[in-house]
């Protein structure tokens, strides 16, 4: 077990190193001169050259690469060209809304998807099963910006149950900030519940046909116990997998939803950074998101071990 985790951590570092390299290359392949862009159209060529020198953009590419990797390993992802702040600080500031938005969305998705998925599988072919599948398809196919706009219009503007958009001002308290996340969380929760619902249903259907479910019934227990204790635990692995992936996707920033609700999260930050050619921020975001992805994957795999003792690494 410890050996396995150690091996996985080594693997993680290799992945992150590759991501560092790719981030470095991609950003430099993009067109546009950040120095010229930062200084605006009126700047002289000398000013631009001076800024390039200051940023180290005039040095040979290998030198730039080595210093970039070296700094990244020390947790220094450079300075944002736009904010004039260290990238790590910029990212950290945007992490809170994104992380909580992801958690709430996942929670809402799970609350919607698992009970319905289980019930739909249990009553396979029934009206409710059909209805659940159809609704899930709809939820997954409607673009999140539309759902977002509709909920904003009716639940926030008309009924006033939620703040319409934003994340409060600098003095807004934590709970109040969380209130701003509720509506976008509902949107993302609905969108993401579809996939989880389908996985839960499919997995439960498989398991409910197993011989040990018949054994469980033959022991004289109620259906609730059969389904929730004997079947659900066995159906959990595919569900955990899809939940892990969904969470990783959410953490990497729900760009559209963050835009619609004007939430200063990772998704919003990355889009703006791309438009501003803020290389260090783009690189930093890529690295952080990739690391989170790998980490969530590792946690998912470890969760398998907890659920199923047959899983051997």
């Amino acid at each position: 077990m410890a050996r396995y985790i150690f091996k996985r951590l080594i693997g993680m570092m290799i992945v992150i190193f590759i991501v560092l390299t790719i981030a470095f290359i991609i950003v430099r392949l993009a067109p546009g001169d950040p120095a010229a862009l930062m200084l605006g159209p009126d700047a002289s060529a000398e000013d631009a050259a001076a800024l390039r020198q200051q940023l180290g953009l005039d040095r040979p590419i290998m030198v730039q690469y080595l210093s970039f990797v070296g700094n990244a390993l020390q947790g220094n992802l450079g300075e944002s060209l736009f904010f004039n702040q260290p990238v790590t600080q910029v990212l950290a500031g945007r992490a809170e809304p994104t992380i909580f938005l992801s958690l709430f969305s996942l929670l809402i998705a799970l609350v919607i998807a698992t009970p319905i998925g289980i019930y739909a599988a249990y009553r396979r072919g029934s009206f409710l099963d059909q209805a659940a599948i159809t609704t899930a398809m709809l939820a997954a196919s409607i673009p999140s910006f539309w759902t977002g706009l509709m909920l904003q219009r009716y639940l926030a503007t008309d009924l006033g149950w939620f703040p319409v958009s934003g994340y409060g001002g600098p003095d807004t308290g934590f709970l109040e900030r969380m209130r701003y996340l509720l509506l976008p969380s509902i949107v993302l929760g609905i969108v993401n519940s579809a996939l989880i619902l389908r996985f839960t249903r499919a997995s439960m259907l498989d398991i409910l046909g197993e011989d040990y479910i018949r054994t469980a019934r033959s022991k004289g227990m109620g259906e609730r116990r059969v389904v929730l204790r004997h079947a659900l635990k066995n159906a959990a692995i595919p569900i955990i997998t899809v939940v892990g992936l969904t969470f990783a996707l959410l953490v990497s920033g729900a760009v559209v939803t963050e835009r619609v609700f004007n939430i200063p999260g990772m998704g919003n930050l990355v889009v703006s950074a791309v438009l501003r050619r803020d290389y260090p921020v783009i690189q930093g975001a890529l690295i952080v998101v990739a690391s989170l992805y790998v980490l969530i994957n590792l946690l998912t795999d470890l969760l398998y071990l907890v659920v199923d003792k047959r899983v051997k690494y």
């Binding site: 011989d211 040990y212 018949r214 054994t215 033959s218 022991k219 004289g220």
Partner: protein
């Protein structure tokens, strides 16, 4: 104890499939006496397993008992008709006084719970014991079914045991609440021959010790000869021949029973004698011939066999559903 433990009479089971209703069991009747073993024998699709599931009240959702009675004598002597018993009541009997062992030891234990957990759950459901007493009782059961180093097996998962061991665990699980009726659905079919013999020995010993009755479902005439007191041969959802085991093996009278016996090697058969397979297959449930279901495969069939046939008494409890029973004795048994 007086009277049979289980008395099934005129049991009918139907299944709905694609809007059609098909009859899976037709007028099945048999009785099982205390401490005895009744073997239900037949090919796949003959209705053996459906009978057992009907008794357990565990028919699949598209199946239902359409007629007949399943009278079960509870340990307290009270007789109930299981076909009309409410699910809540049935649940109390299931596992505690009527237990079942299934085929496929590989897949009938839940892979995510320990052996101890799964046997213990049976007690949890039916027998109010504290955790410690429960564990002790589970251990006793594992020792009873001769699992070596039983104490160290309690916390094992099913995948850590061999097929034979798992079937022993399954037996321990079924017997932990001292059932009076055990339904064993092909309990040894998936096992190696040597393991099979061990499991049959074990079941016989436990039956003697615990005094339970066994409804033994199998397709294997060799196993029938080993375990049964009485035999009911099933074909296409109906019983075609019923007798005490000695009678059946000495004077198999239904052409189908003879076919079953002729298609397996038996000790005492002259050397070099050929095994004779039964030609054809069981007719599908939705295309049953109006008369004797076995007629299309039967060498003795004629016009008479196009009429419905019912069981009739040949004497001493030997009953047969055939217009042209085979009368001569089998020389070699």
């Amino acid at each position: 104890m007086t009277g049979p433990v289980l008395d099934v009479s005129n049991l009918q089971v139907t299944f709905r499939a694609r809007g059609r209703s098909v009859t899976a069991l037709r007028d099945v009747s048999f009785t099982l006496h205390p401490g005895k073993t009744l073997a239900l024998v037949g090919e796949s699709g003959s209705g053996k397993s459906v009978s057992s599931l009907a008794i357990m009240g565990l028919l699949p959702k598209n199946g239902a008992v359409a007629g007949g009675e399943i009278r079960y004598r509870r340990p307290d002597g009270k007789v109930s008709d299981l076909t009309t018993l409410p699910e809540r009541e049935m649940r109390k009997l299931r596992g505690s006084s009527i237990a079942m062992i299934f085929q496929e030891p590989m897949s009938l234990l839940n892979p995510l719970f320990t052996i101890g957990d799964q046997i213990g759950e049976m007690l949890l459901l039916h027998d109010p014991l504290d955790a410690q007493a429960r564990r002790k009782r589970v251990l006793e059961m594992l020792e009873l079914v001769e699992i070596p180093a039983a104490a160290s097996r309690l916390d094992n998962y099913p995948h850590e045991l061999s097929g034979g061991m798992r079937q022993r665990v399954m037996i321990a699980l079924a017997l932990v609440c001292n059932p009076t009726l055990l339904i064993a659905d092909e309990p040894t079919t998936a096992l190696d021959v040597t393991i099979q013999a061990q499991i049959l020995d074990l079941m016989r010993r436990l039956q003697k010790e615990m005094g339970m009755s066994i409804l033994f479902i199998t397709h294997d005439m060799g196993v029938v000869a080993e375990v049964a007191d009485d035999v009911a041969v099933m074909y296409a959802g109906a019983i075609v021949e019923q007798a005490a085991v000695d009678t059946l093996f000495a004077r198999p009278s239904h052409p189908y029973t003879r076919g079953l016996l002729g298609s397996i090697p038996m000790p005492g058969r002259p050397e070099g004698e050929r095994l004779v397979p039964i030609p054809g297959t069981v007719p599908p449930l939705h295309a049953m011939p109006p008369g004797c279901a076995f007629a299309p495969r039967c060498k003795r069939a004629d016009h008479a066999c196009e009429h419905p046939v019912t069981l009739s008494e040949l004497g001493q409890g030997h009953r047969i559903a055939c217009f042209h029973p085979v009368s001569q004795e089998v020389e070699h048994v």
